[in-house]
């Protein structure tokens, strides 16, 4: 599905729509350039799952694990940032496989295009591309 987002709020709304349909076990790959709104997308998704903690960029530690409380089937959100990585091996080394695809876990990977090898075949790719105006984005999800 393709949608145009006019600003960060609309990007968040689309993330909320995605979040509502999550059941656990999903792996979501986010693709888009610096400043596309990937982290905003994850923040809105986390918010919809009921995560109260602040979801910031995991570029430095590469992976952050958040507890989801009060959801029927999801108990963890794993937020990965592959911006600095050259290949998927790096993610194995920090223990991503412990979480990836677990039935109670949703994994979101920013810059997923840089670590294609680790993505399960049924991963859901979401692409955020620049639109006409500076704040416009085309979101393919």
């Amino acid at each position: 599905m393709m949608r145009i987002s006019k600003n960060l709020t609309e990007t968040g709304q689309i993330a909320t729509e995605v979040a509502v349909n999550l059941k656990g076990g999903e792996v979501i790959g986010l693709v888009g350039e610096l400043g596309a709104g990937k982290t905003t997308f994850v923040q809105a998704l986390a918010d919809s799952l009921g995560i109260k903690e602040k979801v910031a960029s995991p570029t430095f530690v590469l992976m952050k694990v958040y507890s989801v409380i009060g959801h029927q089937s999801i108990s963890k959100l794993v937020h990965v940032d592959a911006y600095r990585l050259r290949d998927a091996e790096e993610l194995k080394n920090i223990g991503l496989l412990d979480y990836l695809g677990q039935p109670d876990t949703v994994t979101v990977i920013e810059w997923a295009n840089q670590v294609k090898d680790i993505l399960p075949p049924d991963s859901r790719m979401i692409t955020i591309s620049p639109g006409e105006g500076e704040n416009d984005r085309t979101i393919d999800f």
């Binding site: 610096l34 400043g35 982290t39 905003t40 923040q43 602040k54 910031a56 960029s57 570029t59 430095f60 530690v61 590469l62 992976m63 952050k64 694990v65 600095r84 990585l85 050259r86 091996e89 790096e90 080394n93 920090i94 223990g95 500076e134």
Partner: protein, 390 residues
């Protein structure tokens, strides 16, 4: 007592020997093996490479700081936050030594180390009085080091600072700004060991924003010192970059939008060709100014709101001279004391870890349930990549 500090949370393998005697701290030896040169070509720290380097250097670094000391009285090791593969090397080394020496071990939060690092300054820069007036003395570092052995050693001078709770109490409550490649946090300190997170970045850390801007301008890595260098010759007023969240009522930060603003600015510029050196300077200066203005403004406001006596700065980005200058000016205007670590203490080091370990081990009141320096810690201590300070 002598405390061995071990730090390996990111890309520096570090060890230090800290002596605490009559309420004074004395850095007997401090060694940092930096991997920055190795990670430069990747534009950032590569976890697997970093971990391998830590494994290779950790024993050498520890041996070097111990010198003739047979064994310390306590081991303090960084347990988080950081890169899990890097942290594990230091934690494992510390556990092994604790077990084989049969001495207590304590896990330390890396941020608590940065927070108190200014206490190890060689020169007194602020009105923290010596524990016993007239007895604070400086001793030169007489230890000769074989500098040719390891080209990457960064040796710090000997440090002697007077400090016990009473004296530290003079600067409390304090608002602490911790800024580094992985952190941007405002912490309220009411007493040693009692911290309250009052603000943080909602997206990118400050150092990360510097790294990303340096990358966009093809200036290299790490971004912090490079951007600061170019900024020196630039005009900070040249480009009006946004001041994200400057006016928000909370004490949180956001640097992702600022980074994006720089990106769009560059896209509009470079279509006509490359950037001149002068213009690169202006971009760096204007970007840096935007970052600093937000950091300083919010830190001062937090200090006023929480009626703090002082502002403390810590972390890798606290090496930024412009940030220090601005904070110095604004704290004077607001009649606040201002403490910041000397340059050799701003980056990751183990002296600050030993110090924080001492603070944690010394106190074991019910108020501080985290204080668990014991000979059995090695059985349970694990690294925690996302360890929180509060």
């Amino acid at each position: 007592m002598k405390i061995l500090g071990i730090e390996s949370s990111c890309d520096e393998t570090a060890a230090a020997l800290l002596e605490v005697k009559d309420g004074r701290f004395e850095v007997l030896n401090n060694v940092v093996w930096s991997q920055t040169e190795i990670h430069k070509k990747y534009g950032g720290v590569v976890p697997e490479v970093a971990a391998r380097q830590h494994v290779e250097s950790i024993n050498l670094v520890i041996e070097e700081v111990l010198g003739k000391v047979m064994k310390p009285d306590l081991i303090a090791v960084t347990k988080g936050p950081g890169l899990i593969t890097s942290l594990s090397v230091g934690v494992q080394a510390a556990k092994t030594l604790s077990y084989s020496w049969q001495i207590p071990l304590i896990g330390v939060n890396h941020l608590e180390g940065h927070l108190w690092s200014f206490l190890l300054n060689n020169k007194s820069q602020a009105p923290i009085s010596p524990a016993l007036p007239g007895q604070a003395k400086k001793v030169s570092n007489s230890k000769s080091q074989d500098k040719n052995k390891f080209v990457n050693w960064k040796l710090s001078p000997f440090a002697l600072r007077a400090s016990e709770d009473k004296e530290i109490g003079n600067c409390l409550p304090a608002v602490v700004l911790i800024v580094s490649g992985g952190h941007t946090e405002l912490v309220l300190v009411k007493e040693v060991g009692r911290y309250k997170l009052i603000g943080q970045t909602l997206d990118d850390a400050v150092g990360e924003a510097f790294d990303k801007v340096a990358k966009m301008l093809n200036l290299g890595y790490p971004g912090g010192p490079i951007v600061a260098h170019f900024a020196k010759s630039g005009n900070a007023e040249a480009i009006k970059f946004p001041r994200p969240m400057l006016k928000s009522d909370d004490f949180d930060f956001s640097f992702s939008g600022l980074k994006t603003a720089v990106k769009y600015h560059l896209q509009n510029m470079t279509q006509t060709g490359g950037l001149s050196r002068a213009y690169t300077n202006d971009i760096c200066a204007s970007f840096q100014q935007a970052v600093i203005e937000v950091l300083v403004d919010k830190t001062i406001r937090a200090a006023q709101k929480f009626k703090a006596k002082s502002i403390i700065l810590g972390g890798g980005v606290s090496a930024n001279e412009q940030l220090i200058k601005n904070l110095d000016l604004k704290t004077k205007e607001s009649e606040l004391d201002f403490y910041f670590p000397e340059k050799w203490l701003t980056g990751d080091n183990a002296a600050m870890i030993a110090l924080a370990g001492y603070f944690n081990a010394k106190k074991s009141s019910p108020l501080r349930p985290r204080s668990e320096a014991s000979k059995n810690t090695w059985k349970t201590l694990t690294a925690d990549a996302n360890l929180r300070l509060v």
